[in-house]
Amino acid sequence: MPDTAMPILDVKGLKTVFRTRGGEVHAVNSVDFDLRPGELLGVVGESGSGKSVTMMSLLRLLPSPPAEMRDGTVMFDGQDLLKISAEELRKVRGSKIGFIFQDPMTSLNPVYTIGFQLAEPLRAHLGMSKAQARERSIELLQLVGIPDAERRLKDYPHQFSGGMRQRVMIAIALACDPQVLIADEPTTALDVTIQAQIIELVKELRQKLGMAIIWITHDLGVIAGIADRVMVMYAGQVVEEGPVNEIFRDPRHPYTQALLKTVPAVRGPRADKLQVIEGQPPIMYEAPAACSFRNRCQFAFDRCSQENPALAEISAPGHRAACFLLDKASTPEPEAVNG
């Protein structure tokens, strides 16, 4: 969706580095993106591609050291989240921007009741009284489809199943009516039938509450079903970005193309042999000076190891990719990905 509204979140040139004993690891390298009101942005990438670190950096959730936000601006609500004081940031975290973590088993505190954990953001951010917070907690649990909400407030996390715990996490993230919800692999730890429940729930909540959502996942199927726009990350960079139909119908970056082909289908024709991306993603000990995908890319040519391609607009509006192949405009469309 090209420039229809002012972005609610605008990230420019974000760089995050981890200082380790083995040297610096450049986890996020100049990431730019924005998020518009009511939009669902899907972020795809393999582990280590920097998708979680990018989102954690936005809210400065990474412990420093070893993490260091080296550069960039994160404009939200007229202020730069990377510059504001810790006190001001606290007002944003969990209230204007909600966060759902991957593992519902470890992100709830086992020694507090669900009721207490739900009431915490309500009392801290909205200044509700105990009774008000309790009332609102019951509403929230009902909203996310937990039966018998009033009684379950007294329960501890271990008394809930994985899917139910994820629902509680969503309820907590929604507690203060956030404008932005960041969901970091929210269904990865869940079974498919439970995943289907959670996805239906999020779709429903989006219609009801209209917040913007950033959904991080490695599952292209999930993204295809819910996202408006998709951002593909590789080695700490955005390699392709565009409307969901464009990305799936006409992927332009060789990595996106390969990624879409390695996943076998559950329906439709079945391939005899799986397409493979040879090699492994690199560990970024230096800021990239060349294309990070060149060693696994079968179309790589000289220029790929000399410069780092920047995201550039392609024919379709809002569709951008970082690949030198696009400059070679007349290159015949490559068919097979596996060389």
Partner: protein, 353 residues
């Protein structure tokens, strides 16, 4: 029994039960059982891959482990390559270990961090074979070649490898003793999407080259559809449906299989928009206290009165297809024994060299 026109099954499992006792109270009295596997039967033909799918906690890994006697099974029989496994004594079991091996889910946890690759792959050789040091090393190199590991890595430790490479070490170890049957317990679940395909292709290549038989346990339905010849679907300790791959994915009969397949999202925005998943209500009941009647009756969208009373029998639909559901009770009720007639025919048409 099977129509047995060609070969006999390599693996025969009959009415396998694996209960884990629950002890409670001051005297740790036996108060109940977790019925992780509650009476399942199936066959696997030589050279075949049987996919075993189901959600977490349905008992699919327990099936894999019980078959290899990593647990002492509660009841039932397991026959692999003509020898009884489930109730033999330790010594004769040990002599049968080489023919049945396992590839584990987490390559990080299943490799000893203090052993080099060569010693990990060589350990089964030391245990079960008498080889000279030269022969041993030659065998280790051969195995490393098979799984696509560079020979120069033999002296390295597991932490120096990526997840996909570690899984290759685990596969080499499983192959060391020339097994006939390998249980692959979620071998790709811990790997990245782009690495999964590499490992699955390797498993298929090795199967062709060494004529291996796999039990491929996974929750990833799309990968199972890719690798398996036949698929068994488990729910709460029981197999609800078995069929050959094409039939199962094209036309699932059991309501649970239908829901499971419909819940898998597809990487295609167009079809995703029109996909209407059957969203199951609620969660899987506890295997310590399974519901009366059909195990799926608490979540089944097509539940009938009889489902809450009587456990459905396994019904044979011919061609190796079996379904345990009351919806199909009237139609052709034959035997409850698994059949595996057509699999071999199908097998020969698949994967031309």
């Amino acid at each position: 029994m099977a129509e047995a026109e060609s070969a006999d099954p390599l693996v025969k499992v009959r009415d396998l039960k694996m209960y884990f006792p629950i002890h409670a109270g001051l005297f740790r009295t036996h108060v109940g059982d977790i019925k992780a596997v509650d009476g399942i039967s199936f066959d696997i033909m030589p050279g075949e891959t049987l996919g075993l799918v189901g959600e977490s906690g349905c008992g699919k890994s327990t099936v894999g482990r019980s078959i290899l006697r990593l647990y002492d099974v509660t009841a039932g029989t397991v026959e692999i390559n003509g020898s009884e496994i489930a109730h033999v004594d330790r010594d004769s079991l040990r002599s049968k270990r080489p023919m049945m091996q396992m590839i584990f889910q987490d390559p990080q946890a299943s490799l000893n961090p203090r052993m080099t690759v060569a010693s990990i792959i060589g350990e089964p050789l030391d245990e079960h074979m008498k080889l000279s040091p030269d022969e041993r090393l030659a065998r280790i190199y051969e195995l490393m070649d098979w799984v696509g590991l560079n020979r120069t890595f033999a002296k390295r430790y597991p932490h120096e490898f990526s997840g996909g490479q570690r899984q290759r070490i685990g596969i080499a170890r499983a192959l060391a003793l020339n097994p006939k049957f390998i249980v692959c317990d979620e071998p790709i679940a811990a790997l990245d999407v782009s690495i999964q395909a590499q490992v699955v292709n390797l498993l298929e290549e090795l199967q062709d080259r060494l004529n291996l038989t796999y039990l491929f346990i996974s929750h990833d339905l799309s990968m199972v559809r890719h690798i398996a010849d036949r698929v068994a679907v488990m729910y709460l300790g029981r197999i609800v449906e078995v069929a050959d791959r094409e039939t199962l994915f094209a036309e699932p009969l059991h309501p649970y299989t239908q829901a499971l397949l419909s819940a898998v999202p597809e990487p295609d925005p167009e079809s995703e928009r029109n996909r209407k998943p059957i969203v199951l209500q609620g969660d899987v009941p506890s295997p310590a206290n399974p519901p009366k009647g059909c195990n799926f009756s608490t979540r089944c969208p097509k539940v009938m009165d009889i489902c809450r009373q009587i456990e459905p029998d396994v019904q044979d639909f011919g061609g190796g297809r079996q379904v345990a559901c009351h919806l199909y009770s009237e139609s052709m009720k034959t035997t409850a024994e698994p059949t595996a007639g057509e699999i071999n025919k199908q097998k020969s048409t698949r994967r031309q060299p």
